[in-house]
Structures are given as C-alpha cells and as structure tokens.
C-alpha cells in the first residue's frame, strides 16, 4: 500500500483518485467489512463458543465513549495523536456496533431454528430474523447509523471533531438499548415482510444522519456565538422537565413531593417478565432530584439575570450552580441504580417491615385495579359499574398475594432512566462548552462550512425520511390495505419530515436563514426522538411494538 502512495505521479490519475477516495473512507469501510467477517465467523463457529451480541454492544459503547473523550481533548489541546486515536476508537465502536447487530441476527435465527426443526417444520426465510423487530434492535441500528455517518464525514479532516458530540449521543442510544433489554421476541406475523429490512433499514440510517445533523446544528449555534449560558438555560429546562414528568409526575406533585418510584416487574409464565404500572418508592432518589431541581432553577434564574443585565456575579454563580447540579444529577442516577440493585423486597411497608424493602404506595391501587380489569378484557362500562372499593380491593389482594414475586429492575423504566442520563449529558456538555469557549470557537471550522454540512445532512435526512414514509406507506398498503392512516408513528415521522422541509425552506426565505434554520434542525431531531420513543411508550397505535 505504501508503495502506491509513494509514486502517485507514475500511477494514472484515475487510479490514484480511486485509491485515494477509498483511503478517505477507510475507517467506515474497515468497520463494515470487519463486522461482516465477524458475523460470518459467528455462523461458522456457532453460538456457544462465541461472544454474545450483548457483550459486543457494551464494547461498542465503551469505544464510542473513549472516542468521544479523545475528540473532546483534541478540541481543547490539538494533537494529531489524539485525533487519530479518536478516529480509530470510533471505527472500533462502529465495528462492534454493527457486529452486535449481525451476531444478533444469527442468534435470532438459531433460536427459532431449534423450535421449528424439533417439530419438523419448514424453516422460514432468513430475513425473518433480521434484527429490526423491536426498539432494542432499532436502537442498535440507530446508533450504528449515527456512528457510520460520523466516520463518513470524518474523511474531511476539519470535521473529525464531530465525534465529540455525535458519539456521546450514539452512546446514549446504546445505553437506552441496554435498559430496554435485548430479549428476543416472537415476530408479529405482519412484520414478516421483505419491506421490513427496507423500511426499518432506511429508518435507522436516516435517524442516524439526523442525529449528526442535530450535532452539527448545535455546533453551528456555538460557533455563531450563541452564549453557553443560553444553552445552559435550555439544558436546565430540559432536565427540569424530565424530573417533573418521570415517575408519573410524582417528584413535584404536592401529595407525593420528593418521591421517586420505579415500576415493578413480574415474571411471566413463559419465562419472560413484564413491567407493571405498579410503582414502588425508591428511597432518597426523589429528594436528591428535588435538590437537583432547586439548583437547576438557580441556574436558570442566574443566567437569565446575566443575559438580561450583563450581571457578572450572576454568571459566575450560574456556572457554579450548573456544576453542582451536575454532581447532584449524577448522585441521583447513582443512588437510583444502587437502590434498584440492592432493594430485594417489594411490598406494602408497615411498621417493622425489613429495611431493604421498596414500598408500594397504596394510593395507586385504584388506577392499578382499573389496569387489572382492562387486562382481564373488561369493557369501560363494566369498569365504570364496578365500585371503586372493589377495584381497590382487587389491587390490594394482588399485591398481598404476589408481592413476593415482584422485583425491581433497571429494565423496568428504560426511557425514564435514559432521560435522566440524557439530562446529565446535556448538563455536562454545557459545562464543557463553557470552558474556554472562545478557544473552542476558534478550533471549530468556519461558520459557512458548518452551515454547508448542516444543509447536507439535513438534505440527506429529508430524502431519507421521505423514503421512510414512502416505503412505510407501500408496506402498509400491502399489509393492511391502506397506505396512510394517520397512525401515530406515521404521523410522527411525517411531522419530523415536515420540520426538515421547514428547515430547507427557511434557508431560502428572507429573515429566517442562519440561526433560525439551525433551530429548525434541532426541533426536527427532537421530533424524531419523540417519534422513536414517545410513540412507542406513550401513544397507542399499530407501531407500538417498535
């Protein structure tokens, strides 16, 4: 290889160009080819002696985080070595990420192969097992989309630093996946279509590009001179809204002030487990969150005062409070994880209950009783006709009889936990950006280049989402007999697409160019995240499996 490089003049121009452009994309290429090879090796060796997809995912996570640290260091203290290390750790991360996905494909196949060959059935086609079945699979692919886009963009040296922002975001998605849990599900038959790899594949790649576009938009705002104090206000409001909404609004609700409770988990007959809307209080976490909220409110107040009146003292205090809130948020997450891991018993707390017990608040019996009735298939009329005392008694009886089986798990509330970690990450980035901001701004490429990249990624996302909507429509028409039904996932993707459309048009519309269009790109990505998570966890609809 080095010989070719040494004599570019001798080699004909076209060939030189080809090898050069291949070299440009070497990291991306290596990661993909390596992952394919590893997957093939998994087919050869079988599952028993091979690394599991879950372990590969954790390796990917570790690599992404390492790469992000290298990239961040490089921004503040430019060093060719760190930049290279960052690039290659990112490459390793993408390799592990895609390998995890590939190995998971084979593992899903092996799992059902056993059942079907045992009863002499015919093996369904291989694409039935492509890991696009639930949110875990999609998260793996989403993170891969973001990782590979980062690697592809890294062929321009001036944009290698992007990994400093995109890879932590990709890590957050992998962390979410970890909390969702990688159990295999039986594929709902309607999903067994060749449209699934096409549709979901496009989804994960365009979501990945959208994530990069979001990162570029944030960088754009930073370069454009948006004060990190203003960013911190938004990050603080974001974290506050997370604190306020998790645990069914219980942290700030007057009747349950300072309480954080986690969903309990019940083992099912088929060996799986289900998360119940019956929550158990986790000690200390609620109060730590309240403390964090007080600090964050302080951050907002101080920075607003600074921005409005240029009050230097307020600025200094704002930054101090921001740092303190980071510590408190980390403490809350740490405490939550510690308590969930150590509290073994779940039940109704009475005097003399053992100390290591998570308490179930009896005030939720009414709602839980209604949930139980709905699970039994009762109609709203029947439920309305049942006296509340009876509903409550049924819930109480359930807790009395089954509380021994209930347990706590980090997998019970994946979105809440990931949201807390995302709030922490947002705070952390505000602190990092606030450190020698001017130096950081200088290290970033010129504004026009960032803008150009933002436009490019948004354009690709727009085209990708259009393809996503179209393939989804065609698939829906082939499976359900209608190409568009305003299902919440459909609408969510449509809304995100419209917002990217708004971004593209804002750039040719007087007075809305520059910063305003960057805000469009940010809102659009938030809408994508809402479509990706919110629709699955909050809204009912046909896509509720993923």
């Amino acid at each position: 290889m080095s010989e070719v490089l040494k004599q570019p003049a001798v080699v004909g121009t076209p060939r030189f160009k080809l090898s050069q452009s291949l070299l440009d994309f070497l990291p991306a290429l290596l990661a993909v080819v390596g992952a394919v090879l590893l997957t093939l090796l998994r087919i050869q060796l079988g599952g028993s002696r091979f690394i599991s997809d879950g372990a590969l995912m954790m390796l990917a996570l570790a690599c992404y985080l390492t790469a992000a640290v290298f990239h961040l260091t490089n921004l503040y203290a430019p060093s060719a070595l760190f930049q290279r290390l960052g690039l290659w750790s990112a490459t390793a991360g993408v390799f592990f990420n895609l390998s995890s996905w590939g190995v998971r494909w084979i593992a899903a196949h092996d799992r059902e192969l056993e059942i079907i060959t045992r009863q002499g059935g015919e093996m369904p086609w291989f694409f039935r097992y492509i890991p696009f079945a639930n949110l875990y699979d999609l998260s793996l692919a989403f993170a891969f989309g973001a990782g590979i886009t980062t690697l592809l963009i890294a062929h321009r040296q001036s944009f290698r630093f992007l990994g400093a922002v995109t890879l932590p975001l990709a890590s957050l998605i992998l962390i979410l996946a970890r909390f969702i849990g990688g159990e295999f599900i039986n594929l709902p038959p309607v999903l067994d279509s060749y449209w699934r790899p096409i549709h979901v594949g496009i989804a994960s790649l365009s979501y990945g590009v959208a994530l990069v576009c979001f990162a570029v938009a944030v960088i754009y705002l930073l370069k454009d001179g948006v004060k990190t104090e203003a960013m911190s206000i938004w990050a603080a409001l974001f974290a506050l809204s997370i604190f306020a909404t998790i645990s069914r609004f219980s942290v700030f609700a007057p009747s349950t002030f300072g309480t954080y409770s986690a969903s309990t988990v019940l083992p099912t007959q088929s060996g799986g487990r289900m998360s119940l809307p019956l929550r158990a209080d986790i000690p200390y976490v609620g109060w730590i969150l309240v403390l964090g909220a007080v600090l964050l409110v302080g951050v907002v107040v101080a920075f607003i005062r600074y921005l409005a009146k240029q009050d230097e003292t307020a600025r200094v205090w704002g930054h101090r409070l921001l740092k303190a809130s980071l510590l408190v948020q980390a403490l809350a997450i740490g405490m939550l994880v510690y308590q969930v891991k150590t509290l073994t018993d779940v039940g109704v707390c009475k005097e003399g209950s053992p100390a290591g017990m998570a308490c179930i608040d009896q005030r939720q019996y009414q709602k839980f009783g209604v949930y139980m009735a709905q699970q039994r298939g009762e109609t709203p009329q029947q439920i309305a006709a049942t006296p509340p005392a009876q509903t409550e008694a049924e819930a109480a009886e359930f807790v009395r009889n089954r509380s021994g089986e209930l347990f706590l798990s980090l997998n019970a509330n994946p979105v809440e936990l990931s949201a807390l970690i995302t709030g922490l990450a947002a705070t952390l980035f505000c602190i990092i950006f606030s450190f020698r901001t001017e130096k950081l701004r200088e290290a970033l490429p010129p504004l026009e280049k960032i803008d150009s990249l933002m436009y490019k990624t948004a354009g690709v996302t727009f085209a990708g989402l259009a393809l996503l909507l179209m393939t989804g429509a065609i698939w829906a028409n082939e499976s359900w007999g209608r190409y568009w039904g305003w299902d919440s996932k459909e609408t969510g993707a449509f809304v995100a697409w419209l917002t990217y459309g708004g971004f593209l048009h804002s750039r040719i519309s007087r007075g809305w160019t520059g910063r305003a269009s960057a805000y469009f790109a940010i809102v659009a990505f938030l809408l994508i995240v809402f479509t990706y998570l919110g629709v699955s966890y909050l809204l009912p609809g046909l896509h509720s499996y993923a």
Binding site: I115, Q157, V190, P380, K456, A463, G481
Partner: protein, 568 residues
C-alpha cells in the same frame, strides 16, 4: 512555469439560487385601495352566498361564517398583497409549522378510530370531551380545517412555484457566459493565476481541457480581446425543486382520490361460508349525546366470495393460536361472478387482487378449532388400533365399512344440559364430535373423541360405539374464522406514481448540484496571461471546493494533489 499563487478561500455565506424573493411587485395601496377592497369584499360575499346555495346542507353555518371572515380578511389586506403573501416561501414555512402543530395534537389526543379509544374516552372529564369534541380533535385529520390547511398548502406550493420558476429557467435559457474579473473575485471559489502560453486561444483550449477533466462542460467565447471559458454541470438541478413539488402535488391528488372514492370493509370467513358484502365500523362520537357510538356500515360487492379453507401456521405447534405464535394465516377462497369462478389464496403480507379489489388478512376469531383431526380407533375386542386423519367436515371409512364423519370440534369441551359446548376459546380439553355409522347399516351414532390424558375423567368417551373406541390423537389448530379486509382504492396508483417521482427527484436534487466556473483570460505582455477563475454552486459547497481546487491544479499543470492536501 511561474505562477502567482493567490487562492484565497473566501466563501460567501451560501445563498441558494432561489434566495430572496423580489419585494411584492404591485403592492397595492397607491391606486384607489378603498374601491378595490370594497369590490373584493363584494365578490367574496357573493361567492360565499352562491357556494352556500349550491352546497346546501353540506355547508354548516360555521363554514359560512369562516369563509365570510376569510373574505373580510382578504379585502382588508388587499388582494394583491394577499396573493404575494400566499405565494411566499415564508408563508409556506408558516403553513408547515401549523400542519406540524395540528399533527401533534392528533398524536397526543387519541383519535376516534384507534383501538382503545373507548377506554380513553371514558376516562376524560366532561369538559375535555366538550372542548376536544367541539374542536374536532378526536378526528382532527378528517376535520375541515385540516383539509383546508392542506388545500392552502397546495395552493402555496403552486403559487410559489409559478413565482419562482421563470428565474430558475433563465439558468437554462440564458446562460451567463462571461464575467468581469471583479465579479469573479467575489465568487465563493476564486483564484488568480499568471500563466505562460503561445497564444490566448491556445491557453483557452488548455483551460477547456482542464474543465473537461474536472467534469465541467466548457464553452469558450471572446469579447473585447478577452477569452472566457464557462463550464457547468448539473444545470437541470435548478428545476429539481419544482419537480419535487410536482411529485408532492401528485401524492396529494392521489390522497384526494382515495378520500373521495375508496371503499374498505371487512369480511369474516368460516370454511364453507359465502358472502357478497363487506362491512366497516364507522367510529364516531354522537353529536347530541356526546357518547362514543360506533356504527357498522356495509357495502355490496360485485361478486361472491366462498371460503374453502382456512389455516394458521404456528411457530410452536403445542402453543396457542395467538398472533405471537404465528408464522402465517392462509385463507383459500373461491370468487364467483358473471365471468365464472376462480380460486385464490390470501395470506399474510400477500394480498390477492381482483377487479380493483384487494383482499388482505386482517384478523381472526380466536375460538380454537381443528382443521383436521387424527383419530386412534381401537376395536372393542382388542387388536391393533387404527390411525386415521379426517379433514374438517370430512369423512373416513374403516376397512370393515364403518363410516366416521368429523362434525364439530370443541376446544374446551363440556357436556351441558343443552348438549356439547365449549367452556373457553383455548385448547384446554379438546374434543371432536363424530358421527359414526356402523358397517351393519343402522342409524349413525354421535361420539366424542377426547385426548388420552382426559380419557378416564370423561365418561362419554369410555363406551364403545359400532364396535370401536375413539381417541383424539392429534389435531391441526385453526381459529374459528379469518377476517379478510377488502379494499378498493383508485387513488393508490396515483400515490405510487407520486412516490416514484418523489424518490427520483429527491435523489436528483440532493445528489446533483449545479456547479459553474468561469475563467477569464487576459493578455499581460509577451506570452504572459492573467487567468481569473471564479465559480459557484447551489449546494454541496464542500464538494465544489474540492473540484475547484483540482481544476486550478490541473490548469497550473500540477498533478492533482489538491484532493490529497485536504487530507493531510
């Protein structure tokens, strides 16, 4: 080869070509604005009255009030100004934002046709029901204002395209072939070189060659003793955005056709059953009582559908017939009409098409049944048991002439006062009801064949009939009925056409860019020439920068290191 190197990279803020719409051309306000406004108001009111007369009851008084308000608004602003605003991109973006908000409302408030709406609706407070109901939030996507929004958006797309197309067309019809040195230095990419050459035309030819090498089609012109080389690529990209909007309008048109002319319905099918009607649940909230009151509407089909067989392929055969244990549902049907009969198979993700109607697997009625049973028949006097398999509603004959007919199946068999029945839908205590006709002739007798493990508790199966004991060895699980959904949608093909257009045009818009480069060649003494290069692009500024650098290197006669220097 001496060269003055002056390749400053001064990129102006990228402004896509369609930037800055001209200020409102004929902004009203000068020539008798009052008269014009009064006239607009008058025409508007007359139109609304005419519309009301023709539309009759299809228009509510709210609609009339809304349209009148709109007319007043248009008259107040002035029709020219209104048109200018309607055709502006800014207005288009505002409409997008409104559409996004409306869709978000529709996502956050459960829609009337979604499963589980009844539970959701029951838990709302009366004021929520009243507020959301009166704003049509439970069915927002079919509300008039939502459709009005889509209509206005379409209008905006058409008007904005008409407004901007002529300017884009000039890139093709009137190409800019020459440029001043000053203008060139103001472009996003520019370079100035001093080169040696035999003559101006020879140098222009050399530059043309470099343009070709860089993928730009060159045109050489001369003016006032100067040579100009102009090269471009992807000029049709200037029209790409319009093509995208044509594709979008095509999709909208298809959607309109679907909304107006499509027919959908469901048809539950049991084996042996025939039907020529499909029915659909219409979800709605009763306007007067505020109750959720779904109704069923049926429609007749121009053919008859006969179900010949239904089948459910399971993953685990010992498991239940639930969706998550299913590989596929198969329904075999016969379609009869005046042209004859045809057999068809409908299974999951494989619809069947006939006369513009499509048949899909939609759902199933989960009462457990058997598609075929395997019996073990033991002679009363002892001897080797016989195994025989009988299809649903089928018959089998034993070697001695005893006839066995499979009449019915009970998944959770109970023998109640009113005869055999099932206690649940699940296969808890499966039993097959047989009719056995002895070989000797005589009347057929009813027998219940149960599985072995239940034999001792089931007195009915203990006694021998026609000299045999019957046991249910095995059976193929199948639900009571499959529900097919039937659709006729003349809009779908139009929508697909729009999709195809959209995919192609989007690819064209985002992966091709219109890149232009000019080279101005001026003589500066003996065999010395000044070359000023400048160029711009409508997108992909980073890629264009690379291309421009390669071009400059090629003109200078250097090997193309520009691309490599970007890397190191």
């Amino acid at each position: 080869m001496s060269a003055i190197e002056e390749t400053k990279q001064e990129i102006s803020v990228p402004t896509p070509a369609k930037a800055q719409s001209a200020p409102p051309a004929g902004a009203s306000g000068v020539s008798s604005p009052l008269m014009e406004r009064a006239l607009t108001l008058l025409v508007g009111v007359v139109l609304v009255i005419l519309l009301r007369v023709f539309a009759g009851d299809a228009m509510s008084s709210y609609d009339v009030a809304g349209l009148l308000l709109l007319t007043v608004g248009v008259a107040a602003v002035g029709i020219q100004k209104m048109l200018d605003y309607l055709s502006s991109v800014r207005f288009g973006v505002s409409l997008l934002v409104l559409l996004v908000i409306a869709c978000m409302i529709g996502m956050l408030i459960m829609q009337v046709n979604v499963d589980g709406f009844e539970n959701y609706y029951a838990e709302l407070t009366p004021s929520q029901k009243l507020l959301y109901g009166s704003l049509n939030f439970f069915d927002i996507y079919h509300s008039r204002y939502f459709n009005f929004l889509l209509l206005i958006l379409s209008l905006n797309i058409v008007l904005a395209s008409i407004d901007r197309f002529p300017k884009a067309w000039t890139f093709i019809s009137r190409k800019k072939l020459d440029a001043s040195a000053h203008w060139l230095r103001g472009q996003e990419q520019h370079a100035s070189l001093r080169l040696e050459a035999e003559s101006r035309s020879a140098l222009a030819e050399r530059i043309s060659e470099a343009f070709r090498g860089a993928g730009l089609k060159p045109v050489v012109t001369e003016k006032n003793g100067k040579s100009f080389v102009f090269g471009e690529r992807g000029v049709w990209n200037r029209l790409g955005a319009y093509a995208v909007h044509v594709a979008l309008l095509t999709i909208f048109a298809g959607g309109f056709l679907t909304a107006q002319f499509s027919r959908v319905g469901q048809m539950p099918l049991k084996p042996g059953m025939s039907a020529n009607e499909m029915s659909e649940v219409v979800f709605r909230i009763d306007g007067t009582t505020g109750e959720f009151a779904p109704t069923r509407a049926s429609a007749e089909l121009p053919f008859e559908v006969v179900c010949t067989d239904i089948q459910q392929q399971l993953i685990r055969k010992e498991g239940p017939i639930t969706a998550d244990n299913t590989l596929d549902w198969l329904t075999r049907i016969k379609i009869k009409d005046e042209t004859g009969e045809r057999d068809a198979l409908v299974h999951m993700n494989r619809p069947y098409d006939y006369r513009g109607y499509r048949f899909f697997q939609a759902s199933f009625q989960s009462l457990g049944q058997a598609r075929q049973i395997t019996l073990s028949v033991t002679p009363e006097q002892g001897g080797t048991p016989l195994r025989l398999t009988i299809k649903r509603d089928g018959e089998a004959t034993l070697p001695d002439g005893t006839r066995i007919a499979f009449q019915a199946f009970f998944p959770d068999f109970v023998l109640g006062a009113r005869g055999p029945d099932t206690a649940s839908d699940e296969y808890n205590k499966p039993a097959a009801m047989l009719s056995v006709t002895p070989s000797s002739g005589g009347a057929p007798e009813r027998v219940f064949a149960l599985s072995s493990e239940l034999l001792k508790n089931a007195p009915v199966a203990g006694k021998a009939v026609a000299g045999y004991k019957f046991r249910l060895e095995d059976f193929e699980k199948v639900p009571l009925a499959h529900v097919l959904s039937i659709q006729k949608d003349p809009g779908a093909n139009v929508v697909y056409l729009g999709f195809l257009l959209l995919a192609l045009t989007l690819a064209y818009v985002f992966f091709v860019s219109h890149q232009r480069v000019w080279a101005l060649v001026e003589e500066r003494g003996a065999a010395q020439f000044d070359v000023t290069l400048g160029g711009n692009t409508n997108r992909n500024h980073l890629g264009f920068e690379d291309r421009f650098k390669r071009l400059v290197s090629a003109i200078k006669g250097e090997p193309s290191e520009a691309a490599a220097s970007e890397q190191s």
